[in-house]
């Protein structure tokens, strides 16, 4: 079976085309960096079959981040049978740059010219034949998101004689001479071009003999003197010159001036004064809608519905007259746990829905743009905002998304702080406690939990950067995509995919966890015999024993019952099960019928506001669920770092809860004192912030080119640059 790779700039529509070709439902989003791992799928057209691989987007074969490296390596090294290069026709000049890099390779290639709808809307015109003639490869116009041209593309691929494709692209005379020199040493023209651009980094994997390396370095030295402009700008300049000629030939701009709506929208959303307040309002608005009156009301209706269903099931089970442990398993273990969790689905769906809209519209990239200045203070790039924002949904994709960051250290820091961000699965915990104990202020309390998570994450980032991961210096360079109105289909697909993930987790991992928890909590030794326990006897259960054993450790942070300890323990399986366990332990099914809001009554009886807040804090900050742990292990890629991260998170969770609980108790446990605790944290954080040292300028491109000592590129001396930075910022 032949293998086809989809390659193109970020945000050019690769995933959309991939979905169109394979019928899959890959995440599509309007910001660079949605696809961070390669995904493969299958296409079929009559009796033609092929494997298609959706790669992360790249701007250039010279890479600066891990995800780009994955894509670039894949294209360069793995001998694909065919490369479909997706080119965003509405951004032709920049997109063709990668195309020309790809054309240097020998891989068979076709160009899918995407976003033709935008060209039509602008009343521009692209001469496809002329473009084909210039690129010497087939060009097929498509509009991926409206599924136009996909069939034509499919049938073209099916019959395309890719093995016999020939093309011959030449650079200008002096460049060709250098390439010929390099080729004679390296033995391969494509490799020679890569060496021209990327230096020694490009030939690392070629395993050259030392004398060849010396030879090629000599040739490089010799060639570098021949050009009037900087050596690393020679090829890009030539390519862009060529591209401009091509664009002038094939692209006719309409005489009617096209006013893009992006400019208009951005004149408000990234406005000098309005930009930041609007950003804050949007974020607050999302949380208000999900966790404020509207979300709560919807949840209440939903829970009432569940109550009704469960009461029917309970009655049905009882009437069957099954063994007592069976009916206990069903009503207490399965439904007791599930009902408490699933009840929060509406709120999560609202949250996911708005995240989807933010992603699809293109606002995410603006958020990174607006937040960069702030995040840089913590040593992170504005781009780190995106993984952190995804972290509000779920830590697992968030950690994967850290691959868009340029540096390994940045990725480590971001991965380690993501668990502090309050994920969707933690929301039910706040829902229960805030709803039960804080009444009118409940959404403020919920918002404060989110804030606390963010503050701890930021402080940790600063700490890491100041101590163990000093070398990190987050880079930032990002394209702002055009706004697109989010399609209903895409938004609902996104919302549904994530909600489904939640439900499936509830139905599988969690269900298993609930059954185990049920067993541990409904079986135990009473008067020397091991047997099924009644609701009142849970204290004697196995879980009860563990909880009691661990209780002294948790007492300083306000836990006064083994039930809290047990609930927290089960949270390590999945955060959702904290609420589920509380449901089981407080025998929620008992008063399902007469009380609509399942858990509120028992919680009100068992927790003071201060205890509840400390409990929520610990649940928020302590080590994440199993799924997130395994993602963390994967991204950190080292047991040492992983162990460190887990230990760090546990200790931080404990300390912060301790401070909050003790402070809250001093003030008679009022909720004002909790706000006070947050303010103290904020002051600490601003103090630390002032001490962050700025970094000088390092020769980054040179370390990667491997020609450090012979670098002939223009430099501003490090001292100069530092001085200038200082002065500029002092003026401000």
């Amino acid at each position: 079976m032949i293998r086809i790779a989809l390659a193109g700039n970020p945000n050019s529509g690769k995933s959309t085309l991939f979905n169109g070709l394979t019928g899959a439902n890959q995440s599509v989003g309007n910001w660079p960096g949605v696809t961070v791992e390669k995904k493969s799928g299958r296409i079929k057209h009559h009796d033609f079959e092929a494997e298609v691989i959706d790669l992360p987007g790249i701007y250039s074969l010279s890479t600066i981040s891990l995800e780009e490296e994955i894509a670039s390596k894949y294209i360069i090294d793995s001998n694909m049978d065919l490369i479909i290069n997706i080119v965003d026709a509405s951004n032709l000049e920049r997109n063709l740059y990668l195309t020309y890099q790809l054309l240097d390779s020998k891989a068979p290639m076709i160009v899918a010219l995407n976003c033709m709808d935008i060209i039509q809307k602008k009343l521009d015109n692209i001469d496809i034949q002329a473009l084909e003639a210039e690129l010497q490869v087939p060009v097929i116009p498509i509009t991926a998101n409206k599924k136009q041209g996909i069939k034509e593309l499919l049938s073209f691929i099916a019959t395309f004689d890719y093995k016999n494709q020939t093309r011959d692209h030449r650079y200008s005379e002096p460049i060709e001479n250098v390439i010929t020199d390099f080729t004679s040493i390296l033995g391969d023209r494509f490799l020679a071009v890569r060496f021209f651009e990327d230096g020694l980094k490009a030939i690392e994997s070629a395993n050259l003999k030392p004398e060849s390396v010396n030879k090629i370095l000599e040739a490089h030295r010799c060639a570098a003197g021949k050009f009037a402009i900087d050596f690393d700008m020679v090829l890009p300049n030539d390519r862009y010159d060529r591209i401009i000629t091509v664009c002038n030939k094939v692209l006719t701009k309409s005489s009617v001036a096209y006013v893009s709506k992006t400019e208009k929208i951005d004149s408000i959303l990234t406005h000098k004064w309005l930009g930041l307040p609007i950003f804050g309002l949007i974020m607050l608005g999302v949380f208000f809608l999900a966790f404020g009156p509207i979300g709560t009301t919807i949840t209440n209706w939903f829970v009432m519905g569940i109550d009704w269903v469960i009461s029917k099931i309970g009655a049905g089970v009882d009437s069957l007259g099954m063994a007592s442990w069976v009916s206990s398993l069903i009503t207490n273990g399965v439904f007791g746990g599930l009902a408490a969790v699933v009840g929060f689905l509406p709120q999560l769906m609202i949250l996911f829905f708005f995240l989807a809209i933010l992603e699809d519209s293109g606002y995410m990239a603006r958020a990174a743009f607006i937040m960069d200045r702030v995040l840089r203070k913590f040593g992170l790039s504005g781009k780190a905002f995106i993984p952190m924002l995804i972290g509000f949904g779920c830590s697992v994709p968030a950690m994967t998304a850290t691959r868009t960051l340029d540096r390994d250290e940045d990725r480590k820091v971001t991965t380690m702080i993501i668990p502090f961000i309050s994920c969707g699965a933690k929301a039910p915990i706040y829902g229960v406690f805030a709803g039960a104990l804080f009444f009118r202020y409940s959404y403020l309390i919920v918002f404060s939990m989110y804030l606390l998570g963010i503050i701890v994450a930021i402080l940790s980032a600063i700490l890491f950067k100041k101590t163990i991961l000093k070398s990190a210096s987050a880079n930032y360079i990002m394209e702002l995509p055009e706004y697109r109105s989010p399609t209903a289909k895409n938004t609902f697909l996104h919302t549904w995919e994530r909600s489904k993930g939640f439900l499936i987790k509830a139905g599988t991992v969690l269900l298993g966890a609930f059954i185990i928890i049920w067993f541990f909590s409904y079986f135990g030794f009473v008067d020397g015999t091991f047997r099924l326990l009644a609701d009142e006897e849970i204290e004697h259960s196995i879980l009860g024993a563990i909880g009691k054993f661990l209780l002294p450790i948790f007492q300083p942070i306000g836990f006064d019952s083994w039930k809290s300890t047990v609930a927290i323990l089960t949270g390590f399986i999945a955060k959702e099960s904290v609420v589920g366990t509380l449901g089981i332990l407080y025998g929620v099914t008992g008063n399902v019928v007469d009380n609509g809001t399942l858990l509120f009554e028992p919680i009100r009886a068992a927790f003071t506001p201060a205890q509840a807040y400390a409990f929520m804090t610990f649940a928020l900050l302590a080590t994440p669920c199993i799924a997130a742990l395994s993602a963390m292990r994967k991204e950190l890629n080292s047991w040492k770092w992983f162990t460190f991260a887990v230990a760090y998170e546990m200790i931080v969770a404990y300390l912060v809860s301790l401070v909050i609980y003790q402070l809250a108790r001093l003030e008679l446990g009022t909720f004002l004192s909790i706000l006070f605790a947050i303010m103290v944290l904020a002051i600490v954080f601003f103090t630390i912030r002032r001490f962050i040292v700025r970094k000088g300028v390092v020769c980054g491109s040179c370390t990667s080119c491997g020609l450090k000592d012979e670098c002939a590129l223009p430099k501003k001396t490090e001292f100069d640059a530092l001085l200038e930075t200082k002065q500029k910022d002092d003026v401000k």
């Binding site: 250039s60 300049n237 607006i370 960069d372 394209e479 500029k728």
Partner: protein, 77 residues
């Protein structure tokens, strides 16, 4: 003068780029010698800046903008 000194709304032409972490990427994104760029705006907190180059919007930090040597194009009226 560097790109950092260009005000929003003004245009300039690139003369050269000093060595910095993102030099190669900046070049690949189309900021080669002789390219005309328009500074569109500063982010609400004054940094990064948004520029218009080769038909699209790019955002870079002041620290990188300071590494790009440019000539201002005086607006013709």
């Amino acid at each position: 003068m560097t790109l950092r000194d260009i005000l929003p709304g003004e245009q300039c032409i690139i003369k050269g780029i000093y060595v910095n972490n993102l030099r190669k990427r900046i070049i690949d994104m189309g900021l080669t010698t002789g390219t005309v760029i328009t500074v569109k705006k500063l982010a609400p907190l004054g940094d990064p800046i948004e520029i218009h180059v080769r038909g699209y919007s790019l955002t870079i930090r002041n620290s990188e903008a300071r590494m790009i040597e440019v000539d201002k194009i005086e607006a013709k009226r």
